[in-house]
């Protein structure tokens, strides 16, 4: 349920009705930005939004996303270090 996909606002198409064009991997669809409009609609151009049934429902927090990914990268690296250490230990053990 609730299929939501990230898209980028590329153009305001109807200011009065709060409609804008969104781009999803090169596919364009006019969406309502009523739920994410604050002040000048043009400010939305370039922003990534989460789209559901033709409505932009949330502006994606790019920083937050980057942080999440960064943390995961950190997790991976930490594991690799640990593994290398474990390998080192077992290697050592192997020499016994």
């Amino acid at each position: 349920m609730c299929l939501g996909i990230p898209g980028q606002i590329v153009e305001v198409t109807d200011g009065e009705r709060q409609m804008a064009m969104a781009d999803v991997s090169g596919v364009k669809r006019e969406v309502s930005v009523a739920c994410v409009a604050q002040g000048d609609l043009e400010d939305l151009v370039g922003k990534w939004v989460l789209i559901h049934v033709g409505f932009a429902m949330s502006i994606i927090d790019e920083e937050e996303a980057a942080e999440t990914l960064e943390a995961l990268r950190g997790l991976g690296e930490a594991q690799e270090t640990l593994e290398a250490m474990a390998h080192g230990v077992s290697a050592l053990e192997g020499t016994q």
């Binding site: 299929l3 996909i5 991997s25 090169g26 364009k28 669809r29």
Partner: protein, 345 residues
């Protein structure tokens, strides 16, 4: 003197053009015969080809009706599809396409100019494929009794002695190769139809695969079977082959060639690109040791430039197709139940 010239002076087809009289003859002569078979007097083509008379040669015969909406779309039209589709059905069975028939069901009110464009594109595609459209038919039905134009093509080809491509010959260890990106036709049609108000610059992959198949058979003489993936997409072809051959097929999610716009379209509508329709997508099964040769031969041709291995035949439950997901999970790729519907809410 009459200022109007040419046989077909009406702008739109009326029921009169289906009545079997002069108006019908004018439609046929003005639109069809000129492009296809200028000298047909009998209502049957009379043909022969030396290859058919070779001992051991077999005749291949196939048919398809084409009903695409819209009839013209980025990358092609119903006429192009009608020729490519039947040429491809002959080609993937190992046959050299020789002759096509073309039967048109035309809705009253259809623009004659549209018909002419469709016919021209059929002629072009037939010329490209090296086949001749040798016999045909037109029917006109009332408004709302058809959707502009339906085209049915049948094809006759010749299978050289000894050539035997069939799904039943696929073996464990064989490699499954596609000639290029998947789902372009389905996505292009979705966009062109406008129902979901999506727009994208996706062209249908509609193309003839006859020459490509010849190249594959030459480079990989052990080729087992081939299919052109149309309705139901690559997933349906894989399931069909797995079932017929009594094998399992395993494909790699990361190996599937997909255009970014097609992915986007699928994400928006909750569709799976493996089930999207294609009109020029070849799936060939070759023995592992001929895979590289087949790939190289395909990539040397425009229709196969993006050819790639998508999976292989494995031991397992007959008819089972699985996909290894991008981080090692596996899921079953079953046949579609009905048509794929947007899954949104």
């Amino acid at each position: 003197m009459n200022m109007m010239t040419g046989k077909m002076r009406d702008e739109r087809v009326t029921l009169a053009h289906g009545g079997g009289g002069k108006a019908m003859r004018d439609l046929i002569e003005g639109v069809f015969t000129s492009a296809f078979v200028p000298d047909a007097m009998e209502d049957q083509a009379r043909l022969m080809d030396a290859a058919l008379q070779e001992p051991g040669a077999r005749l291949a015969f196939t048919t398809d009706s084409f009903v695409v909406d819209p009839v013209e779309f980025p990358g092609g039209d119903i006429g192009k599809i009608a020729v490519c589709g039947t040429v491809n059905d002959l080609a993937v069975g190992g046959a050299r396409p020789l002759w096509l028939s073309a039967a048109f069901i035309i809705e009253e009110g259809t623009e004659v100019a549209l018909l002419k464009r469709i016919v021209m594109s059929m002629k072009q595609e037939a010329d490209k494929a090296g086949v001749r459209i040798v016999t045909g038919d037109t029917k006109v039905v009332g408004r709302g009794m058809a959707d502009k134009v339906f085209v049915t093509t049948s094809g006759v080809g010749v299978i050289a002695p000894g050539c035997d491509l069939s799904a039943g010959r696929v073996r464990v260890g064989d490699v499954a190769i596609v000639n290029g990106v998947l789902g372009d036709h389905g996505a292009a049609i979705l966009a062109a139809r406008g129902d979901m108000a999506l727009s994208a610059e996706i062209q249908s992959d509609c193309q003839g695969l006859g020459h490509l198949m010849q190249a594959v058979m030459h480079a990989a003489p052990g080729v087992r079977a081939a299919r052109d993936a149309t309705r139901g997409g690559v997933a349906s072809v894989l399931n069909e082959v797995a079932e017929t051959a009594g094998v399992s097929i395993e494909i790699e999610e990361t190996a599937l060639p997909l255009r970014s716009e097609v992915k986007g379209m699928c994400e928006i509508l909750g569709l799976d690109p493996l089930y999207l329709a294609n009109e020029g997508t070849l799936v060939v099964f070759v023995p592992e040791d001929e895979a590289d040769a087949a790939l190289a031969a395909m990539r040397a041709m425009p229709e196969g430039r993006e050819a790639t291995v998508i999976g292989r035949v494995v031991d397992g439950m007959a008819g089972r197709v699985t996909m290894r997901t991008l981080f090692g999970g596996a899921r079953i790729v079953d046949m579609l139940v009905g048509e794929q519907l947007p899954r949104i809410c």
